[in-house]
Amino acid sequence: MSNPIGPSWYQRNYFLLRRLHSLTGIVPIGVFLIAHLVTNSSILWGKFALRGDGAGKSLIDGGVYYFAKEVTWINEQVPHLLLIEITLWVSIAFHSILGVVYAMSGKSNTSRYAYQDNWRYTLQRVSGYVGIAFIFYHVATLRWGWKFLVPGGTQWSHHYSASTLALALRGSAEGMTTWGLLVSLFYMLGVTMLVFHFANGLWTAAITWGVTVSANAQRRWGRVCTGIGAALMLAGWSSVIGFAMLSPEAARAQENKLLGKSAHAVPESSSSEVPARPE
């Protein structure tokens, strides 16, 4: 080592940090991403998963009902939810901070070497940066309740998961506002970038760990990753479009049915559990 005082802590743990960075992208973050997008896209396919309960419901009503049921289950039945969430936040923070450090160690050169693989190298870094901003906004507004960042000031609630999400994406109960449209577009961008980042990261992780060694194996695994990415992209886009076009009024009727309240009941603003209805 050229350093007279010996290798630093960072240098001594260099390999472990690099591999933990790779691993956290798949477990737990990637696994969570899959589960999250599958649940969210149920706004479009939920009706068919309700079995008998779905009969007589429209596609969207069934989707809202199923989605709301799932979200209630996650928030009320999954054990150690806070521990799971903290694990995710810590993993995302770790992956993000090291990711920025690693991204800053390179210099994109797509203008001279405009190969597809090289574009993905650059896009992996760009999507990481956009992804960090998006995840922070997404978690801060919908999980930590930073209402001041939501157009219309909607407080998300797991009792009214679909209707409050629709409000946060639309900006008002009456329809899509300009700010609502910007938030929805940011969601589309964020989801697109993160799905790409995950699918491409799966491809590079197989090289990093030496799973796909031959060029042909890398090509074959690339096709699998493209398939995984395309499926998740479809789930992500249908989630954002589904909720951005969802009528909060109609969604609330389904949520009230699930809560055993009358269809037009309005969430009480006094309770901390149940959200205030934005005006």
């Binding site: 001279r112 760990w209 799973v211």
Partner: protein, 272 residues
Amino acid sequence: MNLASSNSISAQPGRTIRFRIKRCDGPGKPSYWQAFSVSPEAGANVLSCLQQIAANPVTADGQRTTPVVWDAGCLEEVCGACTMVINGKARQSCSCLVDQYAPNDGDEITLEPMSKFPVVRDLWVDRSRMFHNLKRVKAWVPIDGTYNLGAGPRESHEQQERRYALSTCMTCGCCLEACPQFLPEANANKWDTSFVGAQVLGQAHLFNLHQTGEQLASDRLDVLMGQGGVSDCGNSQNCVKVCPKHIPLTESIAALGRAVAVHSVKRWFTSK
């Protein structure tokens, strides 16, 4: 492209072409551009055009200047010395045929020194960092010649073929010039912690595959686990696309990724 079509068949005879050359008078001096007009002979390569310029160092504007300096050795694409950036991409200037790059009158070819290594003068760069990095990973077979080792172990044909491809590396630097993770580093003290690049990863793999060279495999993997080792690869895979010898560098990178993963677990359980 076959040899017949790569020669002068489609190029216009008697044409005049332009060379735009990024020049530099010495280490640390500023770069500047100069243009030269050349009438290439049939089948000319970039080096023979540079020889024409050296014989009559007058710019396209008629200004007399110093001859353009470049490095060259074998003139048959096996030594790597004449590597430069031609029309934006790194390659050997000896095997770069002008008839392909500038077939018509008035066509232009741009020449720059490689950007990842310090410029000695004009198109000549100092590639010592690559040799320094080969020493970092002990890219050699450990025999000191003091006693007779006897016949070496028998090697399978498959293994020979794999090692032969890796052995054709000529330390030219194309893979490093195209790599977004390998950056210029003027301070030689930082070379030990900066990315070794595909060139050294291929050679570490070559000597780890060698049945005697394998004795140093553990030392090599220790270095490649550290800062600047195989983990610093960003998988842009430019290296394998620009390698003039078509060395499967990305396969070496993946093989070493597997080797260091196994090595780290072994070390965690067995090292003192």
